[in-house]
């Protein structure tokens, strides 16, 4: 593939279809700027500020845009609140839809056939692959991203974090918790 993609890039530059500076900038954006630290800021703010949390749950696109996170693969956002009664998990069974502005590019496992096939059928067994066990009584709602809505899970705030600043809270939020394959 290395040779094939290099040949393709050379050809597309010769034809004037792409600008190499654009290619470099796209890569730089997702390598250094856009990633799960964005989503973690959203979660931390929702944990710390009840008004922001209410806004996030009502109009996630606007609430997330207020922090500067917008655009490609996050045009229509929905936030899902985890509670003791309900745990949310996100999957895309048809391809690999994923909220890029808040989480960056998806990890390999999210795009894998195993995750895409099993999550809607046996989410507890999938969670076990991540080392996560939920109480038997917790309802699991799996969100299959079949349209252009992109989902961000709002994990439960860990106990004993009342004294932490938003920046400290953000450092507690893992990417997987915002997909629903981890608890925090």
């Amino acid at each position: 593939m290395e040779v094939r993609v290099r040949a393709l890039e050379t050809l597309l530059i010769q034809k004037g279809y792409i600008d190499p500076a654009a290619i470099d900038r796209i890569i730089e954006t997702y390598e250094t700027e856009v990633g799960p630290h964005n989503g973690a800021q959203v979660v931390a703010k929702a944990w710390a500020e009840p008004e922001f949390k209410a806004w996030l749950l009502k109009d996630a696109t606007a609430a997330i845009a207020s922090l500067g996170f917008t655009g490609r693969q996050g045009e229509h956002m929905v936030a899902l609140e985890n509670t003791s009664e309900q745990h949310n998990m996100v999957v895309c069974t048809l391809c690999s839809c994923y909220p890029w502005p808040v989480l960056g590019l998806p990890p390999v496992w999210y795009k894998s056939a195993a995750y895409r096939s099993r999550t809607v059928l046996e989410p507890r067994k999938v969670l076990a692959d991540f080392g996560v066990t939920l109480p038997e009584s917790t309802r699991i709602r799996v969100w299959d991203s079949t349209a252009e809505l992109r989902y961000l899970v709002l994990p439960k705030r860990p106990d004993g974090t009342e004294h932490l600043s938003q920046a400290e809270l953000a450092s507690l939020v893992s990417r997987d918790a915002m997909i629903g394959t981890a608890l925090a």
Partner: protein, 224 residues
Amino acid sequence: MNGVHDMGGQQGFGPVLLEEKEALFHAHWESRAMAITVAMGASGQWNIDLSRAARESLPPAIYLSSNYYEIWIRALEKLMLERGMVTQAELASGQQTTPPVQVSKVLTGDTVDAALKAGSPTERSIDQPALFKVGQKVRARNMHPQGHTRLPRYVRGHVGTVISLHGGHVFPDGHTLHASPPFNVPVQWLYTVVFDGPTLWGEHSDPTLEVTVDAWESYLEAAV
């Protein structure tokens, strides 16, 4: 299309394998492949649904045995070949031998940020009232279109409940009807519908499971 990409509920793929040290890209070409695909998407010669349809209609054995960015590249090559933008010989050699076709836009280093920040919203105004309301029981139609669709097989024929309405959104099945611009851009109401695990998977399903899909109006019919 009842393609191999429609993976929900399939069995036999084994455990979800986690990487000990995750890398954003696992080879240099993956980063180039991602960015080339994103940049070519801006050319306006196809739309997101045509691009998904191109990936989904790769030969099943190729789809299943390819790394995800390889699927992207194979689909990108197919999209460009179909539109006469490149030839097989050019792809093989990496050298231009035919003139380019006119494209509507070329992303440049200084227009990338704005393009990524803007994205491509699919919400559109819609005049006709929604057929279904929150709380209503609906059945996912038993349909098997030859072309592109976003209704997964595992919900077809099953009854669920509408939990939200999202306004009008570009309807993917119709968005793929014209291969080149100007595209057909039909708009339908978009819903989120929740299904109970046992409804989808039978008596041995996890009783605490619920699955939602986002479904355009013509994917659904009222269930009584």
